[in-house]
């Protein structure tokens, strides 16, 4: 039984929804998972939506001051599909501004790890991961550009699934980087993710980049399903504690019958600059639409000329957003475009072909993050370069559009740890099969189970 079926079989008291919302509101004032919470009936299974995905007439800001008070006049396709299957919209979840961050700290309301509030929850889908870790019955609609589903899922001890690029419609998603953005899911079990993925995936007339993964799928061999590759170059980037926990996971998988093989992938560390060039270039064009009169917060100084009006309005962006707009604009400049943006697009092509060679023979497995969960104050003191470097394990599948899943595999001093499994394009379900199998032998631990009866 998945938790969705379990929820509908519960014998709930008449005040179930009211008591649940009260508890959630109180906990949320400490953890900052939700930016707003909606009233629900308690009769239908609840889902949350990352704040960069539009919900009709509900404030949607991507955690940015520049979009404050923006009320979308429509639902994103993914929201529409959930509502059509009678799921209840529970609220918008906190995130790094426009998805720019690994720890959730580029938000006015700092998200906190539900296992220990001094620690980060991860980003950019921080609120989605916290909500999943504290609510017994709930599924989160999240989004990943460079690791925004995997990283918080690992730090909050939940399953985070990022499908093949294009598998889920992005109509209604506030773009960060169009060639990288993917809508995905977080849950406490692979079964629930499979159930909801079946609802939200598939072509959409409003998104010409959305595809039918079923039509493209190539049958996998038994060897491919049972082989796991570990990349040799990863070892140089891992904390000693992470290495030791991870080797425990590898032994367990060997005992479960998986063939574990090691392989070289010398381009691994080049995925980071490639990713940041492409994502910043695309972000700088996407963020040009925020001009102070069309969406969100208003600049009412209409007597100013267009350039000063525009410049004044854009002071509402946070520092990381400004940094990315400036760098992204620079790498697209006529004199350097082929040196940075053009070259990065070619390196992406090379990375995809090299990773595909490996993924045709089996999965790629690594820890999701190279470090243990950091304290909020430590993460705050990292330089941008140190920050970007910590995305080394989540960027390769995101840059290449390969489906991947982060699943909890151990706990260190009470904080969860996640591992990330990558599969070939369109083999999304093989990841869910793997995690379902893993869950048979793994006991999830959660500090909160709001919504239990």
């Amino acid at each position: 039984m998945n938790s969705i079926e379990e929820f509908y079989s519960l014998d709930k008291k008449p005040d179930y929804a009211e008591a649940f919302l009260e508890d959630l509101s109180e906990l949320n004032s400490r953890l900052n998972a939700f930016l707003n919470i909606s009233k629900i009936s308690g009769q239908n299974y609840p889902f949350s939506v990352k704040d960069n995905i539009c919900v009709k007439n509900v404030e949607t800001t991507a955690s940015s001051k520049i979009l404050r008070a923006y009320l979308p006049p429509f639902n994103a396709t993914v929201v529409e599909r959930m509502l059509s299957k009678n799921f209840d919209f529970l609220g918008k979840t906190n995130m790094d501004e426009f998805g720019f961050g690994t720890f959730g700290l580029n938000s006015d309301r700092v998200p906190r790890n539900p296992f220990n509030e001094d620690y980060v929850a991860g980003g950019s889908s921080s609120g989605a991961a916290i909500a999943t870790a504290v609510l017994k019955y709930h599924i989160a609609i999240a989004e990943s550009t460079g690791g925004s589903i995997s990283a918080p899922s690992a730090f909050c001890g939940v399953v985070g699934f990022t499908p093949t690029y294009g598998a889920v419609s992005r109509h209604g998603l506030i773009d960060y980087a169009n060639s990288l953005d993917k809508i995905g899911l977080m849950s406490r079990s692979a079964k629930d993710i499979r159930h909801v993925f079946d609802i939200i995936k598939g072509p959409d007339n409003y998104d010409s980049t959305c595809i039918d993964i079923g039509k493209r799928k190539i049958p996998e061999s038994e060897t491919q399903k049972n082989t796991i590759f570990l990349i040799n170059q990863i070892n140089g980037f891992l904390d000693e504690d992470v290495k030791s926990h991870f080797s425990g996971l590898v032994s367990k998988l060997e005992n479960m019958g998986f063939a574990i093989k090691t392989i070289d992938f010398s381009l691994l560390d080049k995925a980071i600059p490639t990713y940041y060039i492409i994502s910043m270039a695309e972000a700088s064009t996407n963020l040009a639409r925020y001009t102070g009169f069309k969406y969100g917060s208003k600049n009412n100084e209409f007597s100013h000329d267009y350039n000063s009006f525009f410049t004044e309005s854009r002071s509402n962006f946070g520092t990381e957003a400004k940094r990315r707009i400036i760098l992204g604009t620079f790498v697209r400049g006529a004199s350097v475009k082929s040196r940075y943006y053009g070259k990065a697009l070619k390196v992406r092509g090379l990375l995809i072909s090299k990773m595909k060679e490996i993924l045709k023979q089996g999965f790629i497995l690594s820890p999701t993050m190279p470090i243990l969960t950091p304290k909020i104050e430590d993460a705050n003191s990292l330089t941008p370069m140190q920050n970007y470097g910590l995305d080394i394990l989540t960027i390769p599948p995101n840059l290449s559009g390969f489906p991947h899943v982060s699943f909890p595999y151990d706990y260190d001093k009470g904080l969860p740890m996640g591992a990330q499994l990558i599969s070939d394009h369109f083999n999304d379900y093989s990841l869910l099969d793997f995690v379902e199998n893993w869950e048979n032998a793994f006991e999830y631990k959660f500090k909160y189970n709001l919504g239990s009866v």
Binding site: K56, N57, L71, P73, F74, Y165, G166, S179, N205, S208, T209, I211, K270, I272, P273, T274, Y276, I277, S284, T291, F293, G296, K298, N300, F302, S303, H304, D305, Y306, N307, F309, F310, T311, R314, S315, F317, T319, K322, R323, I325, I326, L327, F330, R339, Y340, G342, K343, L345, K346, V347, R348, G349, I352, T383, M385, L399, S400, G401, F402, H425
Partner: protein, 90 residues
């Protein structure tokens, strides 16, 4: 990047920075660009520029008219005069 180039870049981006933020971002940019330059060492040979991670067919829809029901909600996001959106002068 010298001061003049940085100033020009800010103008193109329509971004205004306060002094402290300006120093911090300018310093970060130098090190990030050095890092970006490390991809120059990679031999990409004849590999084509990969705009999407997977091949995507060019799908087009019928160019037809359809009604949008929530015009009031759409316009509620802007300051409007009659059914015009009010913006700055160009």
């Amino acid at each position: 990047m010298n001061e003049q180039e940085f100033e020009r870049l800010l103008r193109i981006c329509r971004i205004k920075l306060q002094d402290a933020e300006r120093e911090k971002i300018k310093k970060d940019i130098e090190s990030v660009l050095d890092y970006f330059d490390t991809i120059q060492q990679i031999d990409t040979g004849n590999i084509a520029e990969q705009y999407h991670p997977i091949p995507i067919d060019q799908r087009l829809r019928q160019d037809s008219e359809s009604a949008f029901e929530d015009v009031d909600l759409l316009l509620a996001n802007s300051r409007t005069h009659r059914f015009y959106v009010v913006g700055p002068k160009i």
